[in-house]
């Protein structure tokens, strides 16, 4: 009989003897090391480096792999695409547009779609991968925020991540515009309007970008250079930095038995993590191929070439541009005419001010939180969203704002599909975009605190078994049983929080803290925010409290057991008679 421990260390029934392939691999490794010193380099990053495992750590991987798919499919497309705005007559395979005048960009897009085998597949995979890339980045960002993974020492990686999101969006917009079709041209026309609305230099920006008056003959080649060279280069550099920092900091992990702030627990890079992550690349690639092959998106051949005098009803940008477009739809018609100049608030607020402001808020969040908590420690254990109610509520407010703005971007579609008045939807959203986030903040915060109370209840009094017991005097009670030790430990594996007191010390001695009037105001603000952040949270019990509560619960349980044994609750035929 084999002992479990023996099996577990070899993972197989065969004894581990090196095969020929292993020897060959060893020889190659030696050859390489003698020239490149690779083994020395792996001192810093061992091949057996630990990566903790959790499904939510996969979200960033989706973003990474869809970026790789973008590079691969993108290179294929550059082999055929001609980013020229020279006018040609289309004469390819797609009948409905044969004979139509269009730019070389649009014509070569149609050629890729209808005359290059697999060309449409590659175009659609490229577009699908772009949609997934940005979606995955956003969900990954929310995961990082909601679990507190942005805290020291990972703030820089948070900033890099925010920049990646911004650059990904610009990259998406420039790529989407390249086919020079009617829909994307309408988007570029709007972008021209945005530029012209910029104070002082607006028209110059527009004339310089378009190479003269809109639409000019320069915008597609210029977007092309930005799309295939400039931004991908920066993206690649930032993604590399992002990953190097992940390796340097070592990945965060969830609290659990054996996991602490000082260690990292999980399978090794080689072979498990490499296999899982590598396999996952093929899954993401394969899913993109499936979407690209079976689901049309952005059928530019149906829209036709760009013409500044034409537009299709229900014009929508790619999904990630939907929210600024939504703000652009619900903004009231505010325009100021003063001293011979025009200030277009109806464009500046939703496009030139709101999105950059939101990005800056996002980037500042880790630093605001660190300032309020005064926490200078490194954090490697993740937090459940419920255990940081105010932080979770901030994200809920941001998501609500985003969601409402995004819905506003589809106000015409909503009006048509749901038979509503577009005017009323717009008026509703104008109010909701302000009230909604506030409500979401309050609800999410209280919700988290309730969940914390529920956890505390489970910890102190056990879980609800669903067994109702009637006492001899007619009262009813539910039987609670203690949760197992691992679960109980996980519930308590979090920090105790302390509300910051502005008086310089928590004991309230009233000794004036140093600094002038301004420092005092700052301290007061910090104290208010700290109270908002922590004052209502449920703190984990001390060892003594837990012991007392468990003792009490045990006593109650005994009483119930006694009732069950003696009272009318007893199951089965009575043996007394």
């Amino acid at each position: 009989m084999m002992k479990t421990a023996d099996v577990a260390s070899t993972n197989g029934t065969e004894p581990a003897t090196p095969k020929r392939s292993a020897k060959a691999a060893g020889a190659v490794a030696t050859w390489a090391d003698e020239r490149l010193g690779l083994a020395k380099a792996t001192k810093g990053m061992s091949l057996r480096k630990v990566f903790p495992d959790h499904w939510s750590f996969m979200l960033g991987e989706i973003a990474l792999w869809s970026f790789v798919v973008l590079l691969l499919t993108g290179v294929f497309l550059t082999l055929f695409f001609d980013p020229s705005m020279a006018e040609v007559q289309y004469n390819g395979s797609y009948d409905p547009l044969r004979g139509v005048h269009m730019s070389r960009a649009m014509a070569s897009t149609l050629e890729i779609s209808f005359d290059v085998r697999g060309g449409l597949l590659m175009r659609q995979m490229h577009h699908w991968a772009a949609m997934i890339f940005i979606a995955a980045m956003m969900i990954h960002l929310m995961r990082v925020f909601l679990t507190g993974a942005f805290r020291k020492p990972r703030e820089v990686n948070w900033l890099i991540g925010c920049l990646l999101l911004l650059l990904g969006t610009i990259e998406g917009f420039t790529g989407y515009s390249l086919p020079d079709d009617l829909l994307s041209g309408t988007g570029v026309r709007a972008a021209d309007g945005f530029m012209k609305a910029s104070p002082v230099i607006g028209t110059y920006m527009s004339f310089f970008l378009f190479g003269g008056e809109f639409p000019g003959d320069q915008i597609i080649p210029r977007f092309y250079a930005i799309h295939i060279l400039l931004i991908p280069g920066i993206l690649l550099a930032l993604i590399t930095a992002h990953l190097i920092l992940v390796v340097y900091h070592k990945h965060t992990h969830w609290p659990g038995p054996g996991k602490t702030e000082d260690n990292v627990v999980g399978p090794p890079l080689m072979p498990i993590y490499m296999a899982k992550a590598g396999g996952f690349f093929f899954i993401v690639f394969g899913m993109t191929a499936l979407l690209g092959g079976l689901f049309t998106l952005n059928p530019v051949w149906k829209f036709g070439p760009y013409d500044p005098s034409k537009v299709t009803a229900g014009s929508q940008p790619d999904w990630y541009m939907g929210w600024p477009d939504g703000l652009l739809r619900i903004i009231p018609p505010w325009e100021t005419h003063i001293w011979g100049v025009t200030l277009s608030w109806n464009i500046m607020l939703p496009i030139l001010i709101a999105p950059p402001l939101l990005l800056m808020v996002l980037m500042a969040l880790p630093f605001i939180e660190a300032w309020v908590t005064g926490d200078k420690r490194e954090h490697h254990l993740l937090q459940r969203p419920r255990n940081a109610p105010t932080r979770t509520a901030v994200m809920a407010a941001l998501v609500t704002f985003y969601g409402l703005a995004w819905a506003a971007g589809g106000n015409d579609i909503i009006a048509i599909k749901m038979h509503l008045s577009i005017n009323q939807i717009t008026y509703f959203l104008r109010a909701a975009i302000i009230i909604g986030p506030i409500l979401a903040f309050i609800i999410a915060r209280r919700w988290c605190i309730s969940l914390q109370r529920h956890d505390q209840e489970k910890l102190l009094h056990g879980y609800e078994t669903g067994v109702i017991v009637r006492s001899p005097d007619g009262g009813y009670a539910e039987k609670h049983l203690p949760i197992d030790e691992t679960k109980a430990y996980v519930l308590t594996a979090r920090d105790r929080e302390e509300v910051y007191s502005p008086n310089g010390s928590a004991d309230g001695t009233g000794v004036a803290a140093p600094g002038g009037k301004r420092a005092e105001v700052t301290r007061k603000i910090r104290a208010k925010l700290s109270a908002l952040m922590f004052a209502d949270n449920v703190q984990k019990p001390t060892a003594e409290e837990l012991h007392e509560a468990q003792h009490h619960s045990e006593h109650e349980l005994h009483e119930l057991e006694h009732h069950i044994a003696t009272g009318p609750n007893k199951h089965g035929p009575s043996s007394d008679h």
Binding site: T186, K250, G258, K276, G279, G286, G293, A543
Partner: protein
């Protein structure tokens, strides 16, 4: 300040902690670790998945050479048999590899969890001191602090050198000038001097006729019924010679630029429905009004007409304009009315523009001087 100290690394248990860390659970072997039959099955399973991937790749190649992409673009929802077949087989080839590798990792590769110690992100004190000392020495050796003249002139030169690349951006495009204030409608009705038989003569260019979009035929006022909405363009885009313009002036990029400013909406309504603005009493012809098709918000072409109310809706951001009331904004984000084109009929009964638009069309911009709109003065 309640600054919380960085974590100690002693691993001491906090007496405040209610439950001590139970430590890593004992490793549980998987069925494939202890049962050779299950192990063999997993092996076959994984090999079969790799096999399926290979099969899909073969099918991919077959599909590539079997289906001709151009001939069948209309089948399967307009995607074409080639695209669908290539997509499905490529997806299979990739997905099966992915599933096989992950299955391999889960079933057969070692599944021991390892524990690695973390180290604080900051450098060792000695390293930090060494780096700071190096920095200090290097800084002192430059003498930057002691030689303000060198420092300041260096800063000035570095600041100035960035002007070079900025200046070079100048040739990216032409300057705006007053281009945004004029459209090709203004080319009709002007006076030009031409040389005829060696003599310079002054010629009155005919007023710009309004043509149907796409086909280019000029529109007779009598062609329009009440309620008709027509997309229109200046006739010069189709017949430049009549307006003493070259073909090159209305081709390619030039054509697109003209269209982005000159595109027009014609609407005929009951003359009694029109509430003409001040100074616009003679801008319509028998209830036919002409407005810029370019939205004053961000420049989308406006297209959706509500027949009963004479309201025109922009499909991009839903700005709504009242064409019976000087193009006033009745709803949505647009900040200005749609510019109206004053029209009349020429001697042959065709609709023509009296002049250019009296204000810039399209989206607002910084230099746009509202006071200069001739409409505001009551032209």
């Amino acid at each position: 300040m309640t600054t919380i100290e960085p974590h100690g690394h002693g691993g001491q248990l906090d007496p405040e902690e209610p439950i001590p860390n139970p430590g890593l659970p004992v490793h549980q072997p998987r069925p494939t670790d202890v049962d050779p039959a299950k192990e063999k099955r997993a092996e076959i399973q994984i090999a079969a998945l790799f096999g399926l991937s290979a099969l899909c790749t073969v099918l991919f190649v077959v599909a590539y050479f079997t289906y001709d992409v151009g001939d069948s673009w209309h089948v399967i929802g307009g995607l074409g048999a080639s695209t669908v077949a290539l997509g499905a087989t490529l997806a299979g080839a990739l997905l099966f590899i992915g599933i096989a590798i992950i299955q391999w990792a889960r079933k057969l590769m070692g599944d021991h969890e390892l524990v690695e110690a973390r180290h604080p992100s900051y450098s060792e004190e000695a390293d930090r001191e060494r780096a700071l000392a190096d920095l200090k020495i290097g800084y002192e050796e430059t003498g930057i602090a002691r030689r303000p003249l060198v420092r300041n002139s260096a800063l000035a030169a570095l600041g100035l050198v960035s002007i070079g690349p900025l200046v070079m951006l100048r040739d990216l495009g032409t300057l705006p000038g007053d281009k945004l204030e004029h459209t090709i409608w203004g080319q009709g009705g002007r006076e030009i001097k031409i040389v005829e038989n060696g003599k310079e003569v002054t010629v009155q260019v005919p007023k710009m006729r309004i043509s149907r979009d796409a086909i280019g035929t000029p529109i007779l006022a009598s062609d329009l019924e009440i309620g008709d909405l027509v997309n229109a363009q200046p006739e010069a885009l189709f017949n430049p010679g009549r307006y003493y313009l070259e073909h090159a002036d209305v081709e390619g990029t030039e054509l697109q630029i003209h269209k982005s400013k000159a595109s027009l909406i014609l609407l005929r309504m009951e003359p009694a429905d029109i509430k003409p603005g001040k100074g616009r009493e003679d801008w319509d012809v028998n209830g036919i009004v002409a407005y810029s098709k370019i939205c004053t918000h961000v420049g989308c072409p406006i297209s959706l007409n509500e027949r009963t109310t004479h309201h025109l809706l922009c499909p991009c951001h839903q700005s709504t304009f009242d064409l019976a009331d000087s193009g006033r904004v009745v709803f949505g984000p647009a900040g200005r009315p749609l510019p109206q084109l004053p029209i009349e009929i020429d001697e042959q009964g065709y609709l023509v523009a009296q002049s250019d638009f009296t204000e810039p069309v399209g989206p607002s911009y910084w230099e746009r001087d509202y006071e200069r709109d001739r409409f505001a003065e009551g032209d």
